[in-house]
């Protein structure tokens, strides 16, 4: 399986960049040249130089260090938010698909209603009532993205449910829970993982937007989004590095997750079709 992933170019490229990003998120903050909070008021808004690879922001803080530490924020949000949506969405989708009937209808009604709201505005509405911090951002993103996942999982469950080995499991007298987790879940999970991987990119983007708007991670804690906020304020003073580097970081991250996800799809989907 790993070999197959390595052989697909998209997954390989995306995967490589992701590994670098991971390393940056985990080890980066320990290796940065400056503390992300360290202010140097004599060197405010300095353009990139050998001293400050990505320049400094409005309080003289090194942008490079802040970007690196910000990657930890983005990665955490990406994974935790998607993790939350998986924990809620997958079981609900499985249960709706397997049990059918009124349980299915109730769950899907909730899903349908939630999907009617444009997610970003739903998130905005909820987060204005909460204290803006990273934990709430993760929870809100997770809670607003589980419906799409649940619907997808339900569809896949309905398809797998009709396959003969599931009928055989019923004849065996297995409990529904067991059928759900041992027989249905492994056969449904592959496309779900792909969707989840793509979802991480979206979560990172959403967090950036929220932080940019001041509703997410609050300064002085660095987030790519809130570095952009400063960038916007100081656009007049031509501080292009405050806009360029965070945007680039967001771009590369979301792109790599998407690339990896698409590559994963190439590996898993044709293999699923090829199975004879």
């Amino acid at each position: 399986m790993i070999k197959k992933i390595l052989s697909d170019k998209m997954a390989l490229c995306g995967g490589c960049v992701l590994i670098i990003l991971f390393a940056a998120a985990v080890f980066g903050p320990l290796l940065v040249p400056y503390s992300p909070m360290e202010q140097n008021l004599s060197l405010r808004l300095a353009p990139p130089s050998s001293q400050h690879l990505m320049g400094t922001d409005e309080l003289g803080r090194d942008v490079f260090s802040r970007i690196i530490v910000g990657s930890r924020v983005s990665m955490t949000v990406g994974f935790v938010a998607v993790g939350i949506s998986l924990i809620i969405g997958v079981p609900l989708g499985l249960i709706a698909g397997l049990y059918g009937g009124i349980i299915d209808r109730i769950i899907m009604r909730i899903v349908d209603i939630m999907l009617c709201f444009p997610s970003i505005f739903l998130i905005l509405m909820v987060i204005t009532f909460l204290e803006p911090n990273i934990m709430n951002v993760m929870i809100v993103i997770g809670i607003t993205s589980w419906p799409g996942l649940a619907r997808y999982v339900r569809g896949e469950t309905l398809a797998v449910r009709e396959r003969e080995f599931v009928q055989a499991a019923k004849l065996m007298g297995l409990s529904r829970m067991r059928i759900l987790f041992i027989h249905l879940l492994p056969n449904v999970i592959a496309p779900v993982l792909i969707t989840a991987t793509l979802g991480i990119g979206t979560a990172v983007l959403t967090e950036s937007i929220l932080s940019f708007l001041g509703l997410g991670v609050q300064p002085p804690d660095p987030s790519w989004g809130n570095i952009l906020t400063a960038g916007r304020e100081y656009m007049g003073q031509r501080a292009w590095w405050l806009i360029f580097f965070p945007s680039f970081a967001i771009l590369i991250t979301v792109f790599s997750f998407n690339l990896f996800g698409e590559g994963l799809r190439d590996v898993l989907d044709p293999r699923m079709k090829q199975k004879k």
Partner: protein, 260 residues
Amino acid sequence: MSLGNKDLLFEGRGIRKKYVREGFLGSRQSTTDALRGIDIKMRRGDLLGVVGESGSGKSTLAKIICGLEDLSSGELTWNVKPSGKSHPAQMVFQNPFNSLNPKLKVGYTLREALAYGGFKRMASVRKEEVVALLDKVGMNKVNPDAYPHQFSGGQRQRIAIARALALNPAVLVCDEPVSALDISIQAQILNLLKEINKKNRLAIMFIAHDIEAVGMISKDVIVMKEGSIVERGDVVKIIKSPEEEYTKKLIEAVPVNPYL
């Protein structure tokens, strides 16, 4: 209904099954009569063939006997002591590629069946039991740590049969088990089923659209057409002298080698 005969496993009387399909926007409905009053019973050691074209209701009958579907009206009574939660009728399906969970090792699937059939926990199923089970289907030399896709269609069918046997069923219902296999492999599976029936006096219901395969394995046969039984009796007699036109049509359809 007297079920005093010890060897009687189940008896069905007047079994009917209707499928109702919702029309467009829930207004008009169309009803299909899949089964129109079937009387059927099986005893220990029976080898009953069920033959008919697609749409004759054979698969529906199989599902009803196995409890995978409910009957619309009529009765189906079992004369078998319930063996735990597993159903007294176990099924072997047509499609060998879908009968086994592709994500589970074959050994796991069989251990699961042995555990649920033997009222024990999976952890206490010994390796020898899995090998013994595979031996019953002539596959004792096979590696149980392999996945289904590593086996051929015929081998997968045998594993599916082994899984069904592990549950100690009273009846083995085989729904077109060889239709998806090469004709040269069909022989292997048919011989296996015959042997299992003989050794264990296990009742087998063999469903097919090909009267030749049914003829090879069954003792008695019922011929189904559009949800009803049109002819029934001893299989050799029916093949040699069929009474119904429909049965004759089924016989004539079999490719016969003019040189043999």
